[in-house]
Symmetry: D2
Subunit: 313 residues, 4 copies
């Protein structure tokens, strides 16, 4: 009783899991992500059936990147899979015979952290996910804020630099171009290219060229104290913290939760983010400060959150 299924659609694999009321994953199943939009739908259905068979799970929550409409039924636009006005809820319900809710993946992850992770004790929480890009989710008064049309919380596209870097969305200067895993790698490559004499360790982890540096190299080098890698994390944190200060002016939550792959580095990245947040928080001397917390569920947040949203109906 009380079991639901959560689905997380990733670039390389689709994961489905049976989740109980306490947010524990009882069983999971993974399938590779097919290359076609139609294939993804079949694969989701396959994964749900495989993991749900023989269980009492009676609802499915799906976290999908992109815009999901306010009925939580249709994916209006997905940046990676070529879905446009895709009626995902209907198609999966027809295939698996269970009720389905579709949710933006960052919203699902935020909900997971709020319910079962770092959000304990907070009812007004803003989550950011520093992955390849930057996603977000908003909890207000214990409820997920989806917006009138379902597309709230697109933090990654807050314009933080007028006339700034091009973004995949077609705009310029979006926050995720400055605070994300992709940005971190760019910072490291730029610095290693400009001052290779300071980046020996970092360059050595890759193939000796700036282009050979990836995110893992930056993390490893930063933990070893490499100045270029540490400076790259600091630059990322400068932008992440300044953006959180903006969000505090707008939402005034009691806590921020920082998740995503970049946050796996823990205090290496969270401490400079907190410092930058304090630096830029407007009116900081005259107001209570929100806490800046590390996410606790890691990569499970989206699946667990989607499952729980399905339970809430």
């Amino acid at each position: 009783m009380g079991l639901t299924i959560g689905v997380d659609i990733g670039g390389t694999k689709i994961a489905a899991g049976v989740v109980d009321e306490g947010g524990s994953i009882l069983d999971t199943c993974q399938v590779p992500t097919p290359p076609t939009p139609e294939g993804v739908i079949e694969a989701i259905a396959d994964a749900v059936r495989a993991v749900g068979e023989g269980t009492s799970a009676d609802a499915v929550g799906i976290g999908a990147a992109g815009y999901v409409d306010d009925k939580r039924a249709t994916v209006l636009f997905a940046p990676n899979i070529r879905w446009r006005h895709e009626t995902l809820k209907d198609k999966i319900e027809q295939r698996v015979g269970l009720s389905v809710v579709v949710e933006n993946d960052a919203n699902a992850a935020a909900w997971g952290e709020y319910r079962f992770g770092a959000g304990a004790g907070h009812d007004d929480v803003v989550c950011i996910t520093l992955g390849t890009g930057l996603g977000g989710g908003i909890i207000i008064g214990g409820r997920l804020h989806r917006g009138r049309f379902g597309v709230a919380g697109e933090f990654g596209h807050l314009r933080v630099v007028p006339d700034g870097l091009l973004c995949g969305c077609g705009s310029q200067g979006c926050w995720e171009q400055y605070a994300s895993g992709r940005a971190l790698v760019r910072y490291a490559r730029q610095r290693a290219s400009a001052t290779p004499e300071n980046a020996g360790l970092l360059l050595g982890l890759g193939d000796g060229t700036p282009e050979g540096i990836d995110g893992r190299h930056v993390s490893d080098a930063a933990r070893a104290g490499d100045p270029v890698a540490v400076d790259s994390f600091r630059e990322l944190a400068r932008w992440a913290g300044a953006g959180l200060a903006d969000l505090a002016s707008l939402f005034d939550p009691s806590a921020f939760i920082v998740g995503g792959g970049v946050s796996d580095e823990g205090d290496l990245v969270l401490e400079p983010i907190r410092k930058s947040f304090r630096r830029w928080l407007v009116g900081g001397r005259h107001r209570p400060h929100a806490q800046v917390l590390a996410a606790q569920l890691g990569g499970r947040a989206g699946l667990v959150g989607a499952a729980d949203l399905a339970r809430q109906g």
Copy 2:
């Protein structure tokens, strides 16, 4: 029955009014704003007593600039009056014998517009007030979003230009430095100074110098087609619309309401704001667009909204 009193604290005068359930003001009273923090408290009490006497009004709502705590009782910080942790609710209740709620003035104005003005038919509304500065208020699901600590909706201090203009708040690049009445005057003065040959009308309305230009001159000259004045409004609108596009990414309301003195110019300023909003709205081809509406209550919004918030308790 159902009458409440709203109070609006301005820089030069304090207005109190008796407001009915439909948002109509039945009676008002104004007193000059005293120069001392204590004086303001006595003046508020005087105005409330004067207007409330002999009526059935049984609650008072006060709109105050600055940070108001989450209990709607204490002004944590007021930028103009030197209130710091001022227990305004208690002090007014003691003096007038009615229950009091204190609210941020921009929140009160947003609530007024939502309830009795341009917000009709919308439950998710974001208001911005383009006055001397830039204030804001957020309605989500028909409720005023005050934030965990009461200080949400401080839109004016969203950082739109890193390392940008100094703001009175101590930070740099705040939105209100680029989209407000004060910004409008700066744009006009800068342009009149750089190219006086194009600003004959505008300079003539003042004393012939760029410094002599004020907000009314810019409005009058723009309506007469003066190119420098029109260009100044366009610059203001460019920043206002881009900021609304940011707020759409974050809040996803069904409508924006634009109020404050600058919006009195109507479509002269609203049309370019709408154009800029569409220009910068991320994902605009894949999502429903929020409407951008002109406020309808003018300077009464704050008083009416505060009175209604008192009624809601």
Copy 3:
């Protein structure tokens, strides 16, 4: 007597021409640009021999994109051809038996305009070339300013937006990302994408999509009054003029000459550049203003300038 040969190395063809002391081209020869670095050298030699045969031309000037050393002999770095420390002067001299000088192509074009084009009557001139990118050249006291190491006048890489657009040079926010033919097309595509309802003419000139718009379409549409195309030119001019104002603060020339393909549109682009220049010129009320002139030699400037620099020895 007094004839020299100028060479212009383009992306698709290499042009050589015999030029007299008055800057007139007496004869020309074009060959396709070969794909390999070595091939380009042979092709230059071929073109020089072909055009020089039977003439009295006794010196060769070559304009090459990239960094040319202070001896005007070696190409340190070429962005398009993969030359690194290429001893171009020696190799061509060996092949054609004439003395050779190598010059940065934008410097050569600037010199051509200074000597035989718009520069008449000026001894302190700064030229910018708005082509695909943005190049420049500096004449001080009637002499080409090459810099201590030969790499002065790289205007295109002036940083005009901190944390701005990525540039091919590896830096961010370079002027040529905001003021060049490539920037113009980006402006038009972004605007046509955001507000297609205003870009009917522009979209119709291409294939109906923003991506189908090229530079010629923007020019044609702007001349026909298309608002998106006109606005795109205005945006380009805004950045171009502001940059010229910067150069005025630094170099204080008596004239700027604006060349390159974008400038072919004449006053359509030059008038807004002049307006923006006046808008941003620091201290404009207290100093003489440099003129902003259209280049006169079109695509011949580089060849003619290179030939004349060879004559000067």
Copy 4:
């Protein structure tokens, strides 16, 4: 034989000195700076007469803040003294009976350093002076580059942040708002205000408030390792170095000389400037790098340079 007189006009005092051909000051005289424009002229004449009496000095060089015309005779505009088209050369020549040249003060200081200070061995030098503001001077081929109208080298007003900080010149985002003594103090105050817990030493040197911090406090605290002070210097250096990288793209000198009060801190500020310069130098792997040198003459540079320019005639 070969003696000339140099004059340095400061905000509080006017200094005149007799200087020999080697740049040594043989004798000096100081008078307070009078409050009126006319008074300053008389005071200059007095100081010149006092120091020149009984010597063989036969020419006077005056360094003045502001725009000096190309004839080195008239001050077109002085920001501090209210001179507008002031015929300074004529007025001083009439009063002292010696030939006079007037020069921009930063140009004079640059010339002093070039001739007798850090410029030894370089013929293409760009100097910046990090004082209260940011001034500059350019030496090309061993000659001072004054520009066609005499107002070249106004580096302080290079626009480094579009829509950035207001500048006294009326423009926005000028380099001197980010790299100067005044900027350094602002950085320190902002940081001390935002994170007073990290700024104990710095606040203690002043009166305990951010506003009480001055430039000397920042220097003292930085030398003692105070993190806020060190970070303030690093921020200044970040902007200074990025600007030098811009100047390298434009002028390509063999050396930069960094003078002014801020540079008195030596490697505390110069090393981070050099680091930032390398970080932002475009094409740094493909070109020789200019040196970044500390000025050597301190506050004498302007007086010595002005005297030497008078000698050159």
